[in-house]
């Protein structure tokens, strides 16, 4: 009895199905079929390989880069939400501790009450924030690295703002407050630099 096609294929692929070798030595028909199966593999391998009809790279590059930006934005958003949650919790805690509503030193009152050596830092901060708003308007798509750097700086500024909001401009805390405002100005300057140079511009 002739071996099945499955047995012949197994023999072709190096297996030893029972009785196939002996059968092949005496059966010209099956030997020819085995030869044909070997030949077919070679013919299939010789079929021409074609490159993709169009270059897929530009679209792929765009997708890879936009995914990176999305991941940075997601990290930034997560960090921002953690900060907001922490700020809210701290504000509630302060309100309870002081037992007297919102911090009277916050906002415009706080700014107006700053002594002369802190007031210039606040003005400088406002000027830099204006420059950032101007640079952000109509900004093209940024590279993943640049978006990441911006998110990091903005996170650091948010942390500083939180620390500033907790301090009172008393004689004990004045130096600490001044240092924080100085740090804020430096970070804003760095942000202006990244925003205006646009880091690594990405043409999607």
């Amino acid at each position: 009895m002739h071996p099945t096609l499955e047995q012949l294929l197994a023999f072709r692929d190096g297996e030893e199905p029972e009785g196939v070798r002996d059968h092949l030595s005496g059966c010209a028909e099956c030997a020819a079929e085995l030869e044909r199966l070997h030949g077919l593999v070679e013919k299939m391998r010789a079929l021409s390989a074609e490159p993709p009809p169009k270059d897929l790279w530009p679209a792929l590059r765009g997708q890879v880069q936009s995914e990176r930006i999305k991941s940075w934005v997601a990290i930034g958003a997560l960090a921002a939400s953690v900060l907001v949650a922490a700020s809210v919790m701290a504000a509630v805690w302060l309100w309870h501790v002081r037992g007297s509503g919102p911090n009277p030193d916050s906002g415009a009152q706080q700014q107006a009450a700053q002594p002369s050596d802190i007031q210039p830092l606040i003005s400088e901060s406002q000027k830099l924030e204006g420059a950032i708003r101007h640079a952000s308007a109509g900004t093209p798509v940024l590279s993943g690295k640049t978006a990441g750097a911006i998110a990091n700086i903005e996170d650091s500024i948010a942390i500083l703002d939180f620390k500033i909001s907790l301090l009172k401009d008393s004689s004990e805390q004045h130096d600490q407050l001044k240092k924080l405002w100085q740090q804020r100005v430096r970070l804003l300057q760095a942000l202006v630099q990244v925003r205006t140079s646009r880091g690594e511009y990405t043409q999607l």
């Binding site: 013919k43 299939m44 391998r45 079929l47 021409s48 390989a49 074609e50 993709p52 897929l56 880069q65």
Partner: protein
């Protein structure tokens, strides 16, 4: 068995790509675009599906580069991703009832035939017949015969990829060869009828 995926790998290039170097990623794409596209072309009915499979494959490769540990050669890793994406595509097609997985390939066979001879170049009838016969196979049989006979996958690897048994892979291969034989005989007989008579 040498696979068309088996291009020399460059560890430095790979490390650069793992760090997010877009230039290195482009080099990887250029090196593997043809084998990935051709594997997808053997699985998918339409060229545009093969293009999408190639794109999905590379996106997955770039997303997962950080997880590549070098336990298998890089080309094996890419080929596995390509085969898995292409298989997902034929399963999707089956769900949409575009093309039966185990039935006849249907009217998409013509669109599937891999190589198109350029006008003016001599036509290799044997190759054209083989392309046509492969295109006539049901998608699963075609995928199995291609992975096993051309790409050198073992039956165990095919079984794992398809999430089926080794005997499934063996019987699919035998069925594919049975049909290929019948289709090639029919094609040869058809060609013999259309050949001009020899003048001798």
């Amino acid at each position: 068995m040498v696979s068309v995926f088996q291009v020399p790998s460059d560890d430095v290039l790979l490390q650069k790509a793992q760090k997010g170097d877009i230039g290195a990623m482009e080099e990887i794409y250029r090196a593997y675009a043809t084998p990935v596209y051709n594997l997808a072309r053997r699985f998918c009915k339409r060229p545009q599906d093969a293009e999408e499979v190639a794109q999905e494959t590379f996106l997955e490769v770039f997303r997962s580069l950080g997880r590549f540990r070098g336990e298998a050669p890089f080309w094996v890793w890419i080929r596995r991703i390509a085969a898995s994406k292409a298989l997902m595509r034929i399963r999707e097609a089956e769900r949409k009832k575009e093309e039966p997985l185990d039935g006849k390939a249907g009217d998409g066979a013509e669109a599937l035939a891999g190589s198109r001879p350029n006008p003016g170049t001599p036509v290799d009838n044997e190759k054209v017949a083989l392309e046509k016969a492969l295109a006539e196979l049901p998608p699963t049989s075609r995928a199995v015969v291609w992975l096993h006979d051309v790409e050198g996958y073992t039956h165990e690897e095919i079984a794992e990829l398809f999430d089926r048994s080794v005997s499934f892979s063996k019987s699919q291969l035998a069925r594919a060869h049975e049909r290929l034989r019948a289709l090639l005989i029919t094609e040869r007989e058809g060609l013999a009828c259309t050949q001009p008579l020899s003048s001798s």
